[in-house]
Amino acid sequence: MKIKTAWSINKNTNKAIDQAYQQLENELGAQPSLIIAYTSVIHESNLVLESLKKNAPHSLLHGGTSCQGAMTEEGFHSKDGIGLGLLGIHDPEGSYGIGLSNIEGDGRAAGARAIQEAIQNAGRAGEPPDLVWLNSAPGLEEDILLGIQDIIGENVPVAGGSTADNTVSGEWYQFTHQDISQDAVVVSAMYPSVKTHLAFHSGYSPTQHRGEVTKAEHRTLYEIDGRPAAQVYNEWTEGVVQDALEGGNVLLSTTLTPLGRMVGAVGEMPYYQLSHPESVTPEGGLSLFSEIEVGQEIFLMKGTQESLVSRAGRTARSALRTERISSRQISGALVVYCAGCMLTVQEQMPEVAEEIRTALGGNPFLGIFTFGEQGCFIRGENRHGNLMISVVVFESS
């Protein structure tokens, strides 16, 4: 098993891909079995796919868009909203299969179809993958996860992120070596020859503010404790959304004060799934990037810029620590970092990349910036969350 990464901030798509792929192949020493590619939306999807297929006609491709660019062990790669990153896996003893399925409003079915296709393509019919790598258009990630679990059960770890654009305007897209879509789920069924380790952390702490969801529908939180959610939220946050109480985008201003639900506990320490308020609805509700249900208890969560910067590295360390492996024992990693957090700490992103690099011992990793993150919580449950960091580490052979 060998993993290498490459990147480019060249605004010329072909040149960027050529440059990055050449670097990748040189460092791998062989054509990669699987290429995982992420680019900012500035690079046109067709060109990206065409160029990739031209450079690696025999490699499997799993790709999508990432907000502003990407990061690798060499840093944060984005310039003027342009950037792309590649991760190549050379693993002749492993098996990999990719599936793409358009969502078309039914995430569950799409997820199920995608995973079946991926397993089939991997030549491992009936065998559960060691890991499912997932990227999809934002909106129905929870259903997609259910669809995947319908096929392979709940015990296979799923990790990934929702493809993102630079302006939250729906310009994201997903692709494989066979297809491109703006509303699809792409999964890789991975049967690597080495072990994998995952971590899925939020890094936010609950405050004393909590309430019950009294009115909600899908991803819109209308009321908390019987009162307009935006108002309650504004009170909790001492006016973070004051200016938008009548309605408007609050994505950036709420990055450090998301809402959270307790979804489990490790010992006596609960862990939370976060929901990031994106905008205030005309009704005074809050539009979130994840599903919310009536009756759930929600907390106001609090984070800091410092924690946003440092927790990426900590999450990577956590992936190693649980299985007591050192950074010397890994070949590479995939990192999903919330785009909202990235935009909040954008100037400090080089530090974030450095934190991850240090945690992974300088080994190759590809980090993407997403509008939702999927991962496997501590107790083995796969979930979709916001403002999370998801890390997948591949051991070395």
Binding site: G126, I151, V156, H201, V266, M269, Q305, R314, S318
Partner: protein, 1004 residues
């Protein structure tokens, strides 16, 4: 001049409003207005310095016409607050108020255009500039302008100097304080902000730390849970292993495996498929009967498993091997975990199933991997066990057919074993006996290798040599054998090797401390079963005591032989027939070898034959000693016949024949002499040891008369006491008694064995008289000789000293001869006198304490010149251990001089003479020797040399001068000191005179 008070009061009131910064601009304005109105100026402009005084700012403007806003509009800027640089000339030391009056040519404080503009607009006729100072601090200036041509300058000056400047100063002070407060406030704010930032940072860090803590806690908890899970898994694995190892047969192994895995993996059902033939599997074990009807064929999936992979299936329906099974099986076994069990002999797959889709995860695979290793080992063990069982069965059938053969062989072996055991027991018994003998024998036993190394030794051997047994073993025998016996020993051992009979030979060994002792070695060769020599057995006996006894016996025999041979008597041992068995060797008789075996009659006169026969017979018969005296060949003998008895009868008779011829003669003489005392003219008495007179011859009468004693009575005490020593025991003594003018010399001779004392007397009256006459004669002659000697010696000495005058050599020679002759004669006289007094018993020693060394040195010096003439070396060696002694130093010196003089006389040229003295270590006496290398003294002269007037023939023939008295006198002197003097001499080599003196050490 009169100043308007109301103006002043108003100004003061205005000044009193200067309370804070907010009032300053109003106050300025009002002041300016008041002063300008008071002095009649229509326009006034107050400019104040700020910062470091390099700039000015317009701070107030008064104008009556209210045209200033328009003016400012024209100018394009508001005048109040207008800054302008100060001309260097503008600041100068000047009195507090300096008043200029300029008319339309004012050009300094304000730009020209402003001034000209104002002038034109306001129709100014006169401009007055008033500079305001406080100390040397320039506060600013006020510019007054008027249309009038004659303003109230004095009032203006007064108001500016006394009020305006004060107000400006006050304003400045307040402004300064306000700035300070502001700065302070800013400083405080800055610090507060910094603290706030720090707190924020700390808060952020705390938040981060809390996050880290939470994450760490979660990690820790996760790790703990993982560890717990691992522990549980390990326990389950161990339990499973135990189950497996407890099973011995394959079925048991499989069953154990299934149940063990159930606990570990949590499956619902499981079964094991065994590859019956290529790609065809049969069910061999299951937890559920539903799987029994399955038929299994291997495709890619199973083949991958058999290659060693543990594979899970989240949906068995998608696996081709499962698709062959009944649908209800797959319906119940939705998930499956496939574990390969491949050994050398078999290929099997253990399949665990669960009804939940995707139940088996990577974790299950890892657990199964851990378990499968153990399972395969257990399986291998069982297979091995089965294989062994199969082999055992085969062996059993073979064994049966050979058992009969073995029984017969066994019987034979048993018989042989019995014989062997018997032989072993016998050998063991023999060994025991031998070992007992080996250990208990009194003799030392060594077993030697053929190269002379001691292989074994018993305790006696070790004790003999004062070694421990382990020290002996390994030793070379020739380290023990004394070196002078090596050759003998080697020769004897060599003879063993060549097959000679065992030698017994004497030898000498070394003990551990090196002392030698005699031994007797009895060596024998030991052979192996093939007749090859293997070692030498040596029995060694310490014959020290025997040798001593033998030596003692030999010595005794020799002594006896010597005794017999030295006996003057004949000693014969005769048998009953009279044959000689033993005879001693007597001088002038035949040797024993000639007579032994012959008859005694051959050697005794015929007339003695009957006597011998008779007494011989009697002795043999009666076994008693018979003594006879008999005469033969004119000699008398006393023969004693002594029986030598054996156990029962006399076996021999020892005849001891002593020649008593002389005794017989003596007896006759004695008989004759027995009459002598009565006829002896000298008194002869015999008294007891207590002084009682037993016998007194007739010649004793005069003595008895004087003593008033008779036979049977005691001698007077004063007489008897003379013969008693200090311990009142009789002693031999010669003493004199005077009786009636007769002098008797009495010799008391105690006969201790008889218990009496014989007293022999002799009348020495005549001798005494003769001695007296001789002594008188010698004294008289000596005196007569000494009288003329004195002047001869004296005058010759004076002449030799050349006192009267010089003498020539010839004269000296003559005079010296005279002197020497005189000395010699004097010495002869002295010697005669000494000899005479010694003879008469009147010689006395004058004892005193003196040092031996001094006397010896003086003696040597006396003879040194004579010795030098003959170049004789003279050595003196007196031991410093000799203490000061009590003796007559002059007489001792006389002795030394006599001996040394004789030595010089009798030693030829270049000879050696020495005088030595030392303390004898044994008795403490002083031993002195005078040794020379002279001509020596003939042996026959040695006994006479100390006699009076004796001179040897050699001395006479050599014409050596001497009186013959020197040694006589020396001996008397030495004897007078209680000492002894002796001489040893060898003709041609020299003589040694040895003196021993019993000196007493003086007490310290």
């Amino acid at each position: 001049m009169q100043f308007p008070l109301e103006v002043i009061a108003k100004i003061n009131e205005i000044i009193s409003d200067i309370v804070d910064e907010d009032a300053h601009s109003v106050v300025r304005q009002r002041l300016l207005e008041t002063i300008a109105q008071a002095v009649g100026f229509e326009f006034a402009m107050l400019s104040e310095t700020f910062r470091d005084g390099n700039q000015m700012k317009v701070t107030a403007i008064y104008e009556e016409t209210k045209l200033m806003p328009a003016v400012e509009k024209i100018l394009g800027f508001p005048l109040i607050g207008y800054h302008f640089e100060i001309d260097a000339d503008y600041r100068f030391s000047a009195p507090p108020a300096e008043v200029f009056t300029h008319i339309s040519d004012y050009h300094t404080q304000i730009p020209k255009r402003i001034g000209s503009s104002i002038g034109k607009i306001l129709n100014i006729k006169r401009i007055v500039l008033v500079r305001q100072y406080t100390g040397d601090q320039y506060l600013g200036a006020v510019t007054f302008a008027t249309k009038e041509t004659d303003p109230k300058i004095d009032l203006l000056t007064y108001l500016c100097n006394n009020h305006l400047v004060y107000a400006l100063r006050l304003i400045r002070e307040q402004a300064k304080q306000a700035r300070q407060r502001e700065n302070h406030t800013r400083e405080l704010e800055k610090r507060i902000n910094e603290r706030t930032d720090a707190l924020k940072t700390a808060h952020q860090q705390v938040v981060v730390s809390q996050e880290i803590l939470s994450e760490s806690y979660i990690d820790l908890e996760q790790t703990r849970q993982v560890a717990e899970a691992r522990l549980q898994e390990t326990e389950m694995l161990l339990n499973g292993l135990k189950e497996l190892t407890d099973s011995s047969d394959i079925d048991g192994v499989f069953t154990s495996m299934l149940y063990a895995l159930q606990a570990i993996l949590g499956y619902e059902d499981a079964f094991i498929l065994n590859e019956k033939s290529t790609d065809i599997f049969e069910l061999i074990s299951t937890t559920s009967s539903k799987f029994e009807r399955g038929k299994w064929y291997a495709n890619q999936f199973f083949k991958r498993i058999l290659s060693g992979k543990i594979l899970a299936a989240f949906n068995t329906m998608q696996i081709s091997e499962w698709q062959e099974q009944d649908s209800d099986i797959c319906a119940q076994a939705v998930s499956a975990l496939h574990i390969p069990l491949v050994t050398q002999n078999s290929k099997a797959i253990l399949i665990c199933t669960h009804s939940v889709k995707g139940f088996f995860t990577r974790k299950h695979i890892e657990l199964a991997e851990r378990f499968s290793i153990l399972a395969i080992q257990a399986l291998s063990k069982s297979e091995l066990y089965i294989a062994l069982e199969h082999e055992r069965d085969q062996l059993e059938s073979t064994v049966g057919s050979r058992t009969a053969e073995l029984v017969e062989v066994n019987q034979t072996l048993e018989e042989e074993n019995a014989e062997r055991r018997l032989a072993e027991e016998t050998a063991l018994e023999s060994e025991k006996r031998y070992r007992s003998l080996f250990e208990r024998t009194h003799d030392a036993v060594f077993f030697l290798s053929l190269d002379d190394i001691c292989l074994e030794a018993n305790q006696q051997a070790a004790d003999m040599l004062d070694y421990k047994i382990k020290e002996v073993i390994g030793k070379n025998i020739y380290d023990i054998v004394a070196s002078h016996y090596h050759e003998t020993t080697r020769k004897n051992f060599k003879s063993l090797l060549s097959g000679d009979i065992s030698p017994i030979f004497p030898c000498v060994f070394y003990k551990k401390d090196g002392t030698e002792f005699p031994v007797e070695i009895n060596a024998a060769m030991v052979y192996d079963s093939e007749g090859q020599p293997i070692h030498i057995q040596s029995v060694v006996r310490d014959i020290t005591e025997r040798t001593k006894a033998k030596d003692a016996l030999q010595e005794a025999e020799q002594k006896l032989r010597s005794l017999f041979d030295n006996s003057p008597d004949f000693i014969l041992l005769l048998d009953q027939a009279g044959n000689i068995q033993f005879v001693n060797h007597v001088e002038e008789s035949p040797s024993p070898e000639e007579v032994i075996g012959a008859h005694v009659y051959n050697f005794i006169p015929a007339e003695q034959h009957d006597l011998y026969r008779e007494n011989l017979e009697k002795t043999f018969l009666n076994n008693e000693v018979i003594t006879i005296e008999h005469q033969a060949l004119e000699r008398w003998y006393i023969s004693r016949f002594v029986p030598i008895a054996g156990d029962e009868a006399v076996t021999s008779v020892m005849v001891i024949a002593s020649d008593i011829t002389e005794r017989k003669q003596t007896e006759e003489e004695i008989a004759i002499l027995a009459k002598f005392p009565a006829e002896n003219p000298n008194p002869i008495l015999r008294v007891t040891h207590t002084g009682e007179i037993i016998y007194a011859n007739p010649s004793s009468a005069p003595l008895l008369s004087v003593w008033n004693s008779n036979p049977g009575q005691k001698l007077p005490d004063y007489v008897f006491e003379r013969c008693l020593d200090d311990s009142k025991q009789p002693k031999i003594i010669l003493t004199e008694f005077e009786v009636e003018n007769q002098i008797f010399a009495l010799s008391f001779v105690p006969i201790k064995e008889m218990g009496y004392i014989n007293i022999y007397g002799r009348n020495i009256t005549a001798e005494k008289e003769s001695d007296r006459i001789k002594a008188d004669f010698v004294a008289s002659v000596s005196h007569e000789l000494r009288t003329p000697l004195a002047p001869i010696l004296g005058w010759s000495e004076i002449l030799l000293d050349e006192a009267p005058g010089e003498i020539n050599e010839e004269q000296r020679e003559f005079l010296q001869a005279i002197y020497d002759g005189g000395i010699h004669l004097q010495q002869i006289v002295y010697d005669l006198l000494d000899a005479t007094s010694m003879e008469a018993g009147s010689f006395r020693l004058e004892m005193e304490e003196f040092g031996f060394q001094d006397v010896a040195q003086k003696s040597v010096k006396f003879v040194l010149s004579e010795a030098d003439k003959k170049q004789i070396s003279l050595k003196l060696a007196i031991s410093p251990k000799i203490p000061k002694i009590q003796a007559d130093p002059k007489r001792i010196e006389q002795v030394f001089v006599n001996l040394l003089s004789n030595a010089v006389k009798f030693t030829s040229e270049n000879g050696e003479i020495s005088l030595r003295a030392d303390i004898c270590q044994e008795d403490g006496w002083v031993e002195i020797s005078v040794q020379d290398s002279g001509m020596g003294i003939p042996e026959d002269a040695l006994s006479k040399i100390f006699d009076r007037f004796y001179r040897s023939e050699d001395a006479v023939s050599a014409n050596i001068q001497g009186t013959g008295l020197g040694l006589y006198i020396s001996k008397k002197i030495i004897k007078g000191h209680g000492g002894t003097i002796d001489v040893r001499s060898t003709i041609g080599k020299g003589s040694v005179f040895e003196i021993r003196l019993p000196v007493e050490k003086l007490e310290a």
